[in-house]
C-alpha cells in the first residue's frame, strides 16, 4: 500500500507529495522504516528501496511485521537533480525535528518525524555527495553508540564510524529520532548521482539479516555478513588539499594503504606540473575517497581509518 504522508500545494497546479510504501504481513507488531532521498542528489538508496521491496514482494509469507519504505523524503530534489530543497536552497537534513506551526518545510519535517516515531529501527540511507565515494558504513553519534552498534553490525557494512556529538548534527533526522527513542542508523555508501548495485545488494542482505535477528523475517538470509571495522578502536584521519588544482588519483577506494603511499597528485594542467603529492600519513583503510577532480585549498580528498593511532 502506498500512503501519502504529506500533500501541500505548490504554486501552480502540482502538490508536493511525500509518500511511503507499507508492506505488512503476519501478526507481529515490529516495524522498521527505510528512508532515503533527503538529499536529492544521493541515489544509492533508490536501488535499496527497489530491491528490498522486490524481495519482500516475492517472499511476503516470511515477513512478520511491517516494513515502511520512504524512497524520497525530498521528492522535488530527487526529481530535479538538486541536493537541497529546491526554491529554498536548504539542506533538508538540517531542519529536523521541524515545527508543526512553522514554515512549509519545517512542518513537513515535523510530520515526517511523527510518521517515523515509534519504529523499532529506522535506516536512513545516504550516498555521500557528488565529490566523494564512501565505503558502505554506518555513522553513529557516540551518545547512541551502545544501543546502535549491535544493529549496525547486522547490516553487512564494512565500517562503523562513531562520531562526536556536534550541536549542528542535532538538526538531522537521525538525531531527532534517536532523542525521542526511535533508534535510527545513518548508512552512508557509494557516491552521489550514481547507483552502485553491489553496495545496494549488500545493504539489502544486511537489512534482511537485521530483520531476521529482530524476529521479523524468517526467509532466506545470506550467511556471509561482513564484520565491520569500528572507528573507536583507532583514529580517523582527514586529508585535505593544500592547493587548488586537479586531482589525479593513485589508489582506488576501499584499499589498505601504508604510511607514505601516494594517494593522489594535485596537478596544474596549464603547466604540466605536480602541485602536491598527497601521501598517506598512516597505515590504514581508505574509506572515503574523492572522485571529483577539481579541488580548492581545503577540499576533502580522503578519510583514512587507522587502527594504530599516530
Amino acid at each position: 500500500m502506498i500512503k501519502t504522508i504529506i500533500s501541500e500545494g505548490l504554486p501552480v497546479d502540482e502538490q508536493l507529495l511525500i509518500r511511503k510504501k507499507t508492506i505488512r504481513n503476519g501478526n507481529g507488531n515490529k516495524r522498521i522504516c527505510i528512508v532515503t532521498g533527503t538529499h536529492g542528489d544521493e541515489l544509492e538508496g533508490q536501488y535499496v528501496c527497489f530491491e528490498l521491496i522486490r524481495r519482500l514482494n516475492e517472499n511476503r509469507a516470511f515477513l512478520d511485521g511491517t516494513v515502511d519504505v520512504y524512497p524520497a523524503l525530498n521528492p522535488l530534489g530527487v526529481d530535479s537533480v538538486t541536493r537541497g530543497i529546491p526554491t529554498f536552497d536548504l539542506d533538508m537534513n538540517r531542519i529536523f525535528p521541524g515545527d508543526p506551526n512553522g514554515h512549509l518545510i519545517e512542518h513537513t519535517a515535523y510530520k515526517i518525524i511523527q510518521d517515523l516515531k515509534g519504529a523499532d529501527m529506522v535506516i536512513d540511507i545516504h550516498a555521500s555527495n557528488i565529490f566523494l565515494r564512501e565505503m558502505p558504513q554506518a555513522r553513529i553519534n557516540v551518545k547512541m553508540s551502545a544501543k546502535l552498534i549491535p544493529f549496525a553490525k547486522m547490516l553487512n557494512l564494512d565500517f562503523i564510524w562513531i562520531h562526536d556529538a556536534a550541536t549542528v548534527l542535532e538538526s538531522t533526522l537521525a538525531h531527532s529520532l534517536n532523542v525521542i527513542k526511535t533508534p535510527t542508523i545513518v548508512v552512508e555508501m557509494g557516491i552521489g548521482m550514481r547507483i552502485t548495485r553491489d553496495y545496494g545488494n549488500r545493504l539489502v542482505d544486511g537489512i534482511l539479516n537485521m530483520m531476521h535477528k529482530m524476529g521479523m523475517w524468517n526467509g532466506p538470509v545470506t550467511k556471509h555478513i561482513s564484520k565491520p571495522e569500528i572507528s573507536n578502536r583507532g583514529e580517523v584521519f582527514f586529508m585535505n588539499a593544500d592547493v587548488s588544482g586537479i586531482i589525479i588519483p593513485s589508489v582506488s577506494h576501499s584499499v589498505d594503504v601504508r604510511k607514505g603511499d601516494l594517494l593522489c597528485q594535485i596537478v596544474d594542467p596549464f603547466e604540466g606540473t605536480t602541485l602536491q603529492n598527497v601521501l598517506s600519513p598512516v597505515d590504514g583503510l581508505v574509506f572515503t575517497l574523492r572522485t571529483y577532480p577539481v579541488v580548492y585549498e581545503g577540499s576533502l580528498i580522503a578519510r583514512i581509518y587507522s587502527e594504530k593511532p599516530g
Binding site: 500545494g9 505548490l10 501552480v12 536548504l90 592547493v243 580548492y296 577540499s299
Partner: protein, 308 residues
C-alpha cells in the same frame, strides 16, 4: 583608511579569491562589520559599501574619534555572487555555518577561520544578515539569547525593533553566535531585502550603524536620534501561514500599519485568476515580515505581524 587583503586563495582557473578589509583609525579594536557572506546578499554588500564610503568622508573630516579601530569586510563570498550562486561556488556550503572555522579543514571552514581570525577580539561585531525565506523585513537588529547579549546596546542603533531570539542547534556555527561566545557584543542587522537593492531600507541600515558608532563615541557625526527601539521576542510576532498556493497578489508590505480585518493579500488561482484565499489581518499591528515572491506555496509564512 587602509585597504588590506585579509585572505587569498588560488582557484584552479578563476582569478584569485580575495577577501578585502577596510580599516579605519588605530587603537582599541572597537568595531568589526561583515557584509555579504552569501552570494545573494547584494543589499548587505551595498550597505557595507555605503558604510565604507561614509567612513572615508568621516575620516577626511577628522571625525573619527582617536583610539578606535574599525574594520569593514563588505564581501566574503563574491566567488558565488559573481556567478549568481547563494552558497560556496564549488561545494554549495554556507560560510555562515562554518564558524569559528578551521584553518586545516574544508575550503569554507578555512574561509570562516580567516574571517573569524580578523574579526574576533573586537568589542562590537555587526553582521549584515539575510533570512532563508524570500521576503522583506522592517529593518531591525537581531540578537541571540546566549546570555551574553546586551539589549541596551542594541537600542543604540535607533532602529524601530530589536528582536531577541533563542538560538537553534545550527546557530552554534554562525558568526554572530561565535562572536558572542568569544566575548564580542554581536548584532545582526536585517536591512529589508537580500538579492535586490532597496535604497530606502539600505539607507536605514547604514544610517543606524553610523548612529551606533556615534552613540558609542567611535565617530563624531551626529545623527537624528532614530527610534526608541521596541524589544521583541519571536513569540511576540503573529504569523500568518498561507492556506492555499498560487499567485501572491500582495496589497501590504513590511512596515505597513494595519487594522484587524484589513485585506493584506490575495492568493489567486494561477490559471483563472480567481481569488482562492483573501488574507485578512488578524489583529491591529505593523507588518514585520512579508513574503514577496510572486508565487506562494501552501503552508508558507506570508506575514509576521507585530501586535499593537
Amino acid at each position: 583608511m587602509k585597504e588590506e587583503i585579509l585572505f587569498t586563495m588560488k582557484s584552479p582557473y578563476r582569478d584569485d579569491f580575495k577577501i578585502h578589509g577596510f580599516r579605519f583609525g588605530e587603537g582599541e579594536k572597537t568595531i568589526a562589520i561583515v557584509g555579504a557572506m552569501r552570494g545573494d546578499e547584494v543589499q548587505q554588500q551595498f550597505v557595507c559599501s555605503q558604510i565604507v564610503k561614509n567612513l572615508i568622508e568621516i575620516e577626511e573630516a577628522g571625525k573619527l574619534i582617536a583610539g578606535h579601530e574599525i574594520l569593514v569586510i563588505p564581501s566574503a563570498n563574491h566567488f558565488s555572487m559573481n556567478i549568481n550562486k547563494r552558497f560556496w561556488a564549488m561545494d554549495n556550503t554556507d560560510i555562515n555555518r562554518m564558524f569559528p572555522g578551521y584553518d586545516k579543514g574544508e575550503t569554507t571552514q578555512r574561509i570562516a577561520a580567516a574571517i573569524f581570525e580578523h574579526v574576533k577580539d573586537y568589542k562590537y561585531g555587526i553582521q549584515l544578515a539575510s533570512f532563508y525565506m524570500p521576503g522583506e523585513f522592517i529593518p531591525h537588529v537581531r540578537m541571540m539569547d546566549t546570555g551574553f547579549q546586551n539589549i541596551k546596546l542594541a537600542k543604540k542603533f535607533g532602529l524601530p525593533y530589536v528582536l531577541i531570539r533563542k538560538p537553534k542547534p545550527y546557530d552554534t556555527t554562525v558568526l554572530n553566535y561565535n562572536w558572542q561566545i568569544f566575548g564580542t557584543q554581536a548584532f545582526s542587522i536585517y536591512s529589508g531585502d537580500t538579492d535586490t537593492i532597496n535604497k530606502d531600507t539600505a539607507k536605514t541600515a547604514w544610517t543606524s550603524i553610523l548612529r551606533f558608532m556615534n552613540n558609542m563615541k567611535i565617530i563624531s557625526q551626529n545623527k537624528h536620534e532614530g527610534h526608541s527601539s521596541y524589544i521583541l521576542k519571536d513569540s511576540d510576532l503573529e504569523t500568518i501561514i498561507s492556506n492555499q498556493s498560487g499567485i501572491l497578489y500582495a496589497l501590504k508590505g513590511a512596515g505597513d500599519e494595519i487594522k484587524a480585518g484589513d485585506l493584506l493579500a490575495k492568493i489567486l488561482d494561477p490559471f483563472t485568476g480567481e481569488t482562492r484565499s483573501s488574507i485578512l489581518a488578524p489583529t491591529d499591528g505593523t507588518i514585520f515580515f512579508a513574503h514577496h515572491k510572486p508565487l506562494i506555496h501552501q503552508s508558507t509564512v506570508m506575514f509576521k505581524i507585530v501586535r499593537f
